[in-house]
Amino acid sequence: MNEFIFFINNVVISGAVAGSIYALGAIGITLIFSIMRFAHFAHADMMTFGAFMVFIFTAMFPGSGAALGIPTPILMLPIAMAITAVLAIGLDNAFYKPLRDKGVKPIVLVIASLGVTLMLQGIIRMFAGTSSRSLYIGERKEIYRLEVPMEGITRPIVITDPQIWLIIFAIVAVVALHFFLTRSRLGKAMRAMSDNPDLAEVSGINTRAVVMVTWVIAGALAAVAGTMLAMDVALQPQLSFFILLPIFAATIVGGVGQPYGAIAGGYLVGFVETLSVFNWSILLRPLQPMLPEALEVPRNLALVGTEYKIVVPFFILVVVLIWRPTGIFKGKVI
């Protein structure tokens, strides 16, 4: 049964962690697409930016979270969310809005967002250098070992502090987003504008406010995802760049422009990724006595090596798009 615990630790928890980060990023990308109809490539760098804001504030007030019994980065996260939301609105006003007002094709906005990516990465490196840092300054990352009171199980379920926080944040974000989109006036206006921008305009919906709220939500969620990723692993300037591809895969797999699709796509990509690098021989080994001698469970039975993990999102993308060309939830076509 220890093998089963190993599976929980390496697939269920890791998958939920990766999936939550992908989902939080994909929600932002999909909302931006649904309102402004362009793929925002600088999204991953808004995530890095948010994490760096947390780092800066944590470095300024180290250990201040202890008073509340929470890690300091978590205490600083709301501030970083607010700053990243402001950054997102600023980026829109400085770079995307002037282009939209000129009525350019969406591809021009996509290229502009690539430029913003390079710019943000450059700025972050200029101030923070290229080294890898820990968001835990003078604090210890708690690791919880949950003993499972069952016969034959000696290994504990292992989960770290940031992983628990991440899963909590992801659940809260998803529930809050659901209520915002279905209950609030502005949330409904957002769905309306995503459905039919011209009709939204002639209905008297304040489309500028909707655009702003979209950036606030996308920026705030990006800060959460970036910070959680940095807490779970480490903070590097190029950190989010690596997860840009899985996040886009999640967005497209879920159906572009569909917030619930982004959540589903995020977890799908997260779990398939961890399942495909999982060493299945560990689960099969207990069955060895039942198998004929000629059949030996190999030492390593992962579907792909860890170093090829990056191809998994593409694989999911191809498979899902063959099955449903517009994604799991029917996505939008420009």
Binding site: R185, K188, A189, R191, A192, S194, D195, N196, D198, L199, A200, E201, V202, S203, G204, I205, N206
Partner: protein, 234 residues
């Protein structure tokens, strides 16, 4: 004072003029119907009134105030409702949410207006929790008209409200238009089903090549043999 008076309206897209001097005038509580062959500029005229098209010459006056080249969102605030011919609903929103979006600028009036719109279109009340995109063509048209009515407009512009509908729904929509008008809303609509439309019209405007060819009461136009021959299919 007429509710809406458009005089000698010229306009078009880019450098191309589609309207070459159109005159429309309706009193409050009247139904005006614009008919004419394809490419006559019927829908273009409606868009010109609703500020979606650059008017280069002439004037458009709503209750004594010029509204020439005014933004659509401003016109909604001044009590004008517009129902486009296509893409006139939010398909992934529920019926009720569609209607709520119509009164976005007056959130406090939503409950009262919802009741009123449901009175005009009882089928919508039953389907209020359904996604508007799942409804039949006729019901979608009701959602579209309901959304425009949510601001309590004094003038409702309808662009071919019966296009593509079965005869049954067509009559239903015409009856609703009459009822809405009786409730005190001026209506100006573009129609392909010219005979039925003129039958409920107080005023009819026959456009051809971007100009008024005939302008009279609906009844007079229906009985005019010239109009019948050229524009009503004999």
């Amino acid at each position: 004072m007429p509710l809406l008076e458009a005089t000698d309206v010229h306009g078009g897209y880019g450098g191309m003029n589609i309207l070459n001097g159109v005159n429309i005038s309706i009193e409050k509580d009247e139904i005006g119907v614009i008919i004419g062959p394809n490419g006559a500029g019927k829908s273009t005229m409606l868009k010109a009134i609703f500020g979606m098209l650059n008017v280069t010459q002439g004037d458009i006056v709503l209750r004594g105030q010029s509204i020439k080249n005014t933004l659509p969102s401003k016109l909604v605030q001044q009590g004008m409702g517009f129902v486009p011919q296509e893409k006139n609903i939010f398909p992934s929103l529920t019926v009720q949410e569609n209607l709520e979006m119509g009164a976005y600028i007056h959130p406090a009036r939503v409950p009262a207006m919802l009741e009123q719109v449901y009175e005009f279109f009882p089928p919508l009340k039953e389907k209020r929790r359904q996604q508007a995109g799942e409804l039949s063509g006729g019901q979608r048209q009701m959602v579209a008209m309901g959304r425009a009515l949510m601001v309590e407009p004094s003038l409702l512009l309808l662009d071919e409200p019966t296009a593509g509908l079965s005869p049954l729904y067509m009559n239903e929509i015409f009856n609703r238009v009459k009822e809405i008008n009786k409730a005190g809303v001026g209506v100006l609509m573009v129609e392909q089903n010219a005979k039925q439309a003129l039958a409920i019209a107080d005023k009819g405007f026959v456009l051809a090549a971007g100009q008024n060819r005939y302008t009279d009461t609906g009844e007079a136009l229906l009985n005019d043999p010239e109009v019948a021959k050229s524009f009503l299919g004999g």
